[in-house]
């Protein structure tokens, strides 16, 4: 009997969500035995129109509609199609699914997520403390709660530096005037706290990594971005063979006891070649399908882990594999829209996935 997997995050317009890469990875290279179920938020989430990607698509309430409502909806879907494993792929969902973990388990739906405690530690405003405690380099950062700390923070960090919001926006600044201007702009738009961060000159790398229950590294896909969209998202990248990056992710994952998938953003300083941790995203990245092509299928690993298996670490990725993101148009009849708007679901005739 095949395993039925439900995946969220299916909208791939100008800022693609990871769910599509996850579904493609599961089907790679020879199709998937069970049913694949797409969980989407909007009638026009693009992925649910791709009949080759999934067997069923369902609309679910946004996480901000509350735990109970999301749970009720997933329970109804589970009753209709049976879900064995659920893979949430969006930042905004993580907290909700952590809270639903035991209730979903009660229904027989397994997940493999990082713990709430882990997530707290990697929050942008807390990353510095965590890194200090674990001897991991990260750009020096000061959290500003009170505008009067601003001047001192500039002196302490020195120029150039970044003025950053806790969730959005980062501006490179070279002078006090510039920094003050950007700080005021951020403060007006988002309020405080804001961050002042040391600007380090170097090259950026991304790693998608998977940790087991103790944070041991089971697989990692190091890559370097080749082309960026104007929003800074990769639309082309190449896999690397770089033992230092792998060691770095191993150490970070272990220090956080990171369970499940994540994307690490890492910077290598030009002169010293020291590695700095910039950010950790607690989910698969949108480019995850690259791994399947490079001999490391982390979504398949995630399904095994969710089902309680304890797989061996994967052999390293093949380096030099490239992806190029390519947008295409799908054609669909009016019934698709009608079914999604009125019933919130869409079923594709049974086909080998």
């Amino acid at each position: 009997m095949g395993i039925n997997v439900a995946v969220t995050g299916l909208h791939a317009a100008d800022n693609p969500a990871p769910g599509i890469g996850v579904l493609r990875s599961l089907r790679y290279p020879n199709g998937w035995d069970g049913e694949l179920i797409g969980l989407a938020y909007d009638t026009y989430d693009t992925g649910i129109y791709d009949r080759h990607l999934m067997n069923h698509a369902y609309l679910i309430p946004y996480p901000n509609q509350g735990k109970e409502q999301v749970f009720e909806r997933i329970r109804a879907i589970h009753k209709a199609v049976g879900i064995d494993v659920l893979i949430p792929t969006l930042d905004s969902e993580l907290q909700l699914y952590q809270q639903l973990e035991s209730e979903l388990k009660g229904l027989g739906i397994a997940m493999y997520l990082p713990s709430a405690d882990t997530i707290q530690k990697r929050a942008k405003s807390k990353l510095l403390e965590f890194c200090k405690a674990n001897d991991i380099e990260t750009p020096k950062t000061i959290v500003i709660n009170d505008p009067r700390q601003f001047g001192d923070a500039l002196d302490e960090i020195g120029f150039p530096l970044y003025v950053k919001g806790v969730f959005y926006d980062a501006y490179a600044c070279y002078t006090r005037d510039e920094a003050l201007k950007q700080f005021e702009k951020l403060r007006l738009q988002w309020g405080l706290p804001a961050l002042i961060q040391e600007a380090i000159n170097g090259e950026e790398f991304d790693i998608c990594a998977m940790g087991d229950d103790e944070g041991n590294l089971l697989g990692s896909i190091p890559m370097r971005k080749l082309r960026l969209t104007d929003k800074g998202k990769a639309w082309s990248a190449i896999t690397l063979n770089n033992p230092r990056l792998t060691e770095f992710s191993k150490k970070t994952m272990k220090a956080l006891s990171w369970r499940g998938p994540c994307e690490l953003e890492i910077l290598q300083e030009s002169k010293s070649r020291k590695l700095y941790l910039l950010e950790i995203n607690p989910r698969f990245p949108a480019w995850i399908f690259l791994g399947a092509g490079a001999n490391q299928n982390l979504p398949k690993l995630a399904v095994e882990l969710a089902l309680g298996k304890r797989p061996e670490p994967l052999p390293p990725v093949s380096s030099g594999i490239t992806f190029v993101r390519h947008a295409t148009d799908l054609i669909c009849p009016l019934e698709y829209i009608e079914n999604l708007t009125i019933n919130g679901e869409l079923h594709f005739e049974k086909q080998k996935m």
Binding site: I60, P61, Q69, V70, N145, P193
Partner: protein, 448 residues
């Protein structure tokens, strides 16, 4: 053939973007028919609408849970209920039955507590403005007084002369903990101001510092703020103990714990982001316990919760008094309750529940209060089924600040009832015009 149940006809135009999908039946479409087992319609019929309803069971239960969470982790612990949150006599008195002390911030609140029979030595008197005669009475009664500023210290020193004895005081601290930091109250730790005031107080011989107090803000759902506050107070105590020989009888970590309501700027609902009592208790007591004193030498730990105790046990019953369609096509509903009795709508995106079954097809609706003011909006966008004129809605979790901060404006304030064991008791009668105008005079010269 029996007739079908009627639901108002609607057509919804699909917007090109930004419409939340309605799959997963919105909770607003699942009617809540009873509070504590009693029909909401019956309550409204008997006591009027709008109507505040207190579940006494829930209030007691919350107190007991909060107390247990801390008492299991800290040996010498006491809750002082923050009166300002809701000083209805019954609310305070029920919490005193459960064992709470009183935390007051004005002479008016102090009198309420004494009048209920609270002994002075179970009242904590805080706030930036305490009058001389109020302070005098508090010291005579043996109340716990936390000072806020130097001017107050001067007054207290002169009272010490007048009363002919050394007066025990606590010092309210502030630190850079959150955003924005609450620097208005007390003495700043980072700048050395707090240390200076303790030194000055100790050296005068007229007062003796026996307590430290901090209250970092309200609706704090970030546990690290409590960890930092506890660490800050601990470190400050170590410095004044070692250098100034101060021995504390208590430290007071204030209130500020969140309730399950959702703030306007929050993405996730409060029910998901609000930490549990145990998490708060852990954050505070694990830090304080690290001081490593034997249990009998540990200062007593006070907390002063308000919101986290009384928000959830209260609901507001309100009635639909009109339906409208706005030029934008959006549906609007006008209620008999307004922001005059629900001032926390400034901060909260209140949840709304239906009382009758109005079908499952929901529509984005704006809920207006009944005041003659354009800003009187109780929820700018809620997915609501087709509730009709005369039907009731329920707004849960309204017990904190709304009753004590309500304003008198064009309508009379509604009644408040309490339900326990299926029995309804009126704890505040609906206001009458006589009550509102009782303090007014109309001089003969002004008559016509």
């Amino acid at each position: 053939m029996p007739k079908q149940k009627y639901i108002k006809p609607i057509i919804i135009r699909h917007a090109s973007a930004g419409m939340a999908n309605k799959f997963g039946r919105p909770l607003t479409a699942i009617p809540t028919q009873r509070i504590e087992g009693i029909q909401i319609q019956e309550l409204a019929a008997n006591y009027g609408s709008p109507l505040f309803v207190l579940s006494v069971r829930e209030l007691r239960q919350r107190y007991r849970e909060l107390h247990r969470a801390f008492a299991n982790r800290y040996p010498n612990f006491q809750i002082a209920y923050s009166y300002k949150t809701n000083y209805l006599k019954s609310v305070c008195s029920i919490l005193h039955q459960e064992g709470a002390w009183a935390e007051v911030v004005s002479g008016f609140e102090y009198d309420i507590a004494r009048d209920l029979g609270m002994p002075g030595n179970q009242i904590i008197f805080n706030g930036p403005y305490k009058k001389r005669d109020e302070l005098k009475r508090a010291f005579i009664d043996g109340a716990i007084v936390n000072i806020d500023n130097y001017d107050e210290l001067n007054v207290i020193e002169s009272l010490a002369d007048e009363l002919g004895k050394t007066l025990e005081i606590g010092v309210r601290l502030n630190m850079n903990l959150n955003n924005p930091p609450w620097y208005k109250f007390g003495f700043n730790v980072e700048s050395g101001q707090a240390y200076d005031v303790v030194r000055r107080a100790q050296s005068s011989g007229k007062v003796k510092v026996v307590g430290l107090h901090i209250h970092a803000g309200t609706y704090i759902d970030d546990l690290t703020i409590y960890q930092k506050a506890a660490a800050g107070i601990l470190q400050f105590y170590q410095s004044i103990r070692n250098q100034l020989g101060v021995t504390l009888k208590y430290w007071d970590l204030g209130g500020g714990f969140a309730s399950r309501n959702t703030l306007h700027w929050a993405y996730l609902p409060g029910e998901q982001t609000c930490p549990s009592y145990s998490q708060y208790a852990d954050a505070i007591s694990s830090t304080l316990m690290s001081i490593g004193l034997p249990p009998n030498e540990m200062p007593r730990l006070f907390i002063e919760p308000g919101r986290a105790l009384v928000d959830e046990p209260f609901s507001l019953i309100t009635k639909v008094v009109a339906e409208k369609r706005l030029p934008s096509g959006q549906r609007a509903v006008i209620l008999d309750a307004g922001m005059n009795i629900l001032s926390s709508v400034q901060w909260y995106k209140y949840g709304i529940q239906t009382v009758q079954d109005s079908g499952t097809m929901v529509e984005d609706t704006v809920l207006y209060g009944g005041l003659c003011m354009n800003i009187d909006v109780l929820n700018a966008n809620v997915s609501l089924p087709q509730v009709r004129f005369g039907e009731y809605l329920l707004i849960p979790h309204v017990g904190a600040y709304n009753l004590s901060q309500s304003w008198q404006f064009i309508f009379l304030k509604p009644a408040v009832i309490a339900i326990e064991d299926g029995e309804v008791k009126v704890i505040k009668r609906a206001e009458t015009r006589e009550i509102v105008q009782a303090a007014e005079e109309l001089p003969d010269d002004f008559r016509f």
